[in-house]
């Protein structure tokens, strides 16, 4: 159809970058909890795509990018400490809350973020792709190269593990 061009075509390449780079960067961020690295790895993955653009039809670009990014992650940031930052979206309501409530909220947040950081990398990645990005099982399964059932299991397990961490107070 319209995909006669390979990725070497600059417009095709630019479109791929615009469509895929945010999600690719989130993917590495979910795995690593490292913002700067997630940025570097995303750029590097696109550089590799450009270097190999003759061999890769645009339809294969997505899986190529995720594979490359995952390899780069394994080489560079795996085994480093995972730390996420959270937006303070509840700020507006803080004044209305009792100190007791605020303390509980704070403890809840700390507990949950620690639990997220302690999830296995594969569970966390699948879970955050689903919850944060709203991706469906199907797409997650494609990206991770696993079955939808396996993707669902990772997400379930992650959710249950997080639930237990907040309920066992």
């Amino acid at each position: 159809m319209e995909n006669e061009n390979d990725c070497c075509d600059e417009r095709t390449f630019d479109k791929l970058f615009r469509d895929l780079s945010p999600s690719l960067q989130n993917f590495i961020y979910f795995k690593s909890g490292n913002r700067a690295r997630s940025m570097d790895i995303t750029q590097e993955a696109f550089i590799r795509l450009w270097e190999n653009c003759r061999k890769i039809p645009p339809l294969k670009a997505k899986s190529f990018l995720y594979t490359v990014a995952n390899n780069l992650f394994l080489n560079v940031v795996a085994h480093q400490k995972v730390v996420f930052t959270y937006q303070n979206q509840k700020k507006t309501r803080i004044d209305e809350q009792s100190p007791q409530y605020m303390l509980e909220e704070k403890e809840f947040g700390e507990r949950l973020s620690r639990a997220i950081e302690q999830l296995s990398e594969v569970q966390r990645t699948a879970f955050l792709m689903s919850r944060v990005e709203g991706k469906k099982y199907k797409e997650i399964a494609e990206i991770l190269g696993i079955s939808e059932k396996a993707a669902g299991k990772r997400i379930h397990d992650a959710l249950e593990s997080l639930r237990r961490s907040i309920e066992n107070i």
Partner: protein, 305 residues
């Protein structure tokens, strides 16, 4: 519907309103919701896509990686042509590579040519030659003075501004400064060519060119004097002797009231300035004065002529 299926549908955003009513009655529901809203507050990196795209483009250019995929294989004939061009270019490059040896004032140098011929280079002199195919083209350029002990082989040429010296295998000295030169043959046969004129020198013979004039002479030593730290001259104008003194001792010589075209035969030592000055001035009955470390004045005898 089982709890797991409800959960799957909730996670995939596929619950119907009725199913959602069932789902929210689950005891875990409130935890799920809390987790869900907390996780959604993860602060995602949201770089400006257009800016990062520009950065990426710069990186691609910078690393020159952008051009890499565009390399296309050349037709075979171009590859052959490219290799030929490279080969020819490097042949010319190598064949024109010059080796040169140079000495400063008051310095001497001994070295070997590729065919093991020996060269001793006197002070303030320069020799250059092409190493490539030396054995079939033994030719070097000389400015200054050098003594050669040439191994047998193809014709050996010493090219100077004043003339060309060619030999087959021999020992000889060539002196060439400016447009004056002299050749002394110590062994074998030496040919000196100046334009159309060519002359052969046998052992013990010397020839010089001064102001375009060819002069013949005789030497009685087996090596040029400068090799033994002596500068020897056979019937040479005094001004060349004085020039040589200046070079050997790195001094300036001022001449007063002397005819510098007087002919000098003899030698002076290269390591004793007083003795050298005496050797040069005594035969002409001249006076000398060492003004300071670098300046010497030679003057005609008071009241002479």
């Amino acid at each position: 519907m089982k709890k797991k299926d409800l959960l799957d549908k909730w996670l995939n955003d596929e619950l119907t309103p009725e199913e959602f009513e069932v789902f929210r009655t689950l005891p875990e529901f409130s935890s799920y919701q809390k987790i869900d809203s907390f996780v959604k507050s993860i602060d995602l990196p949201r770089p400006d896509r257009e800016i990062t795209l520009k950065e990426l483009k710069l990186k691609l250019k910078d690393a020159n990686r952008a051009r890499k995929p565009k390399v296309r294989s050349l037709p075979f004939i171009y590859k052959v042509a490219a290799i030929l061009v490279l080969a020819i270019a490097s042949y010319f490059f190598i064949s024109n590579l010059e080796v040169s040896h140079r000495t400063d004032i008051a310095v001497r140098l001994q070295f070997e040519l590729p065919d093991r011929s020996q060269v001793q280079l006197n002070n303030d002199s320069r020799i250059s030659y092409k190493k490539f195919k030396w054995n079939s083209n033994r030719s070097l350029a000389l400015e200054g003075e050098a003594f050669f002990e040439v191994e047998e082989g193809e014709t050996f040429s010493v090219v100077t501004d004043a003339g060309i010296v060619t030999v087959l295998g021999t020992k000889f000295n060539v002196y060439s400064r400016g447009d004056s030169m002299s050749v002394s043959c110590f062994e074998g046969l030496v040919r000196l060519t100046k334009g159309e004129v060519s002359i052969e020198l046998t052992e013990g013979r010397t020839a010089g060119i001064t102001n375009g004039e060819l002069e013949l002479g005789q030497t009685y030593v087996s090596r040029p004097g400068w090799l033994y730290n002596e500068s020897a001259f056979e019937d040479i104008a005094l001004r060349y002797v004085i020039e040589e003194l200046e070079k050997q001792y790195d001094i300036s010589i001022i001449t007063e009231n002397i005819d510098v075209n007087l002919r000098f035969s003899g030698s002076f030592p290269n390591d004793d300035l007083e003795a050298a000055l005496q050797a040069v001035t005594l035969p002409f009955n001249l006076n000398y004065r060492i003004d300071n470390k670098n300046v010497v004045t030679i003057s005609g005898a008071y009241g002479s002529e």
